[in-house]
Symmetry: C2
Subunit: 239 residues, 2 copies
């Protein structure tokens, strides 16, 4: 069913001490190719403005030869998406992002275009919403979207900013415990634990990991470490 | 409106290296007083059983002189709540807990009885659901409750397991950043950042902090550190 899609799904935008969108810049250049008009979705921003966010992203994409316009600034964002050659969805709070994708009508519009081949770039929350649901986000549920169902333009779940590290002396659940709870209630799903500095590049039915190794989680199985460069199908089984 | 309620809201059940419900045991003893029949709500457990959870809690409460029965084991949990002298709601996953409170009808039943004076003990997720909403939980949204609105038997929000610490070299949001995002979208709310080893004791309109100091967060203000023993109103202003 979903065969034509092209996505670049990043764990995070920026590594400590590096410029904004520094590590993924060359991946974005290679993924987008010739100059594109990129529709940017800044709705995950909560404590800073949509204009400011769009300007920062446009600055980076300009150095790569692409033009960015913010869908927040359009009277009819669904219509404005029509003229895009690609769409980019920025990180921030996943719940605020998803709620706004619903209220603007962009959820359906982006899903339809991406399933028909519109290139999609997302980072952090922008990678969460590409999945069937946002149930593997790390974000706080600071507002209530109509549903946790998301774009569903890939068949697996992503846990961005994945880390096995825990705070010393702190009793809160580890990331691995949280994902085990998710899989207990969602036994058919596959979760990519995508560490910072990693991305999944989706070309039709093929998924390639670039950057750092990731962990793949399934119910009732030990997590599987996947090396950078691995080629997988939509179930994230290494070929 | 809410004037008769009595609650003991714990950040967490257990400190590292201590027995289950070790640190709060004396607080629970003092709060409950004479022997009580305590209805236990184990629905936050995801990767372990409701029976097992109830047995562990019953074991601790027995040493304090109280009898515990699990509402999960009752054909009619709402009716079974009627014979309780107190209710205890255990930690685990907040979303799973809240979803089950809705599907069993216990959300309304517990709210009504607690507003009319039934003593309530909660820890972690069990403290989250006592608040107006669960929007300040740390948990992963592994399932979808009908709403994020919760028991609303206190007027403020709790962030349990509160810590200002962050993982070194990790780019994910700090707890303080997450709470700032919550307050940006919910500007009239007050959030208690309750560290592990702390609890709020609510007696009618009066709230007392016991254990370690906490931080109170409000929109557009610096967080306020509140010392143990502080007496507050429902807006968490120190008197």
């Amino acid at each position: 069913m979903i065969m034509d899609q092209r996505l670049l799904l990043l764990s995070n935008s920026t590594l400590p001490g590096e410029p904004f969108l520094g590590w993924p810049a060359e991946h974005i250049r290679d993924f987008l190719g010739s100059p594109k008009r990129v529709a940017f979705v800044p709705f995950a921003a909560v404590t800073f403005g949509h204009d400011e966010y769009t300007e920062r992203v446009a600055g980076v994409f300009k150095t790569l030869g692409h033009e960015v316009y913010g869908l927040h600034a359009e009277a009819d964002p669904v219509k404005a998406l029509e003229r895009a050659d690609a769409v980019a969805v920025g990180g921030g709070n996943t719940f605020q992002l998803l709620r706004t994708l619903y209220t603007t009508g962009l959820l359906r519009a982006i899903r339809k275009r991406v399933r028909n081949g519109l290139p999609y770039i997302g980072w952090s929350a922008g990678s969460n919403v590409a999945c069937p649901t946002v149930m593997t986000t790390n974000d706080m549920p600071i507002c209530e979207p109509p549903s946790l169902h998301a774009l569903h333009v890939v068949g697996f779940q992503i846990n961005p900013h994945y880390t096995a590290a825990t705070l010393e002396g702190h009793g809160g659940e580890s990331r691995d415990q949280r994902l085990a709870e998710y899989l207990e209630l969602n036994r058919d799903m596959t979760v990519a634990g995508l560490p910072e500095g990693s991305l999944l590049r989706v070309e039709g039915p093929q998924v390639t990991l670039e950057g750092r190794p990731m962990k793949v989680f399934r119910h009732g199985q030990e997590a599987v470490e996947v090396p950078s460069g691995a080629r997988m199908g939509m179930e994230l089984n290494v070929r």
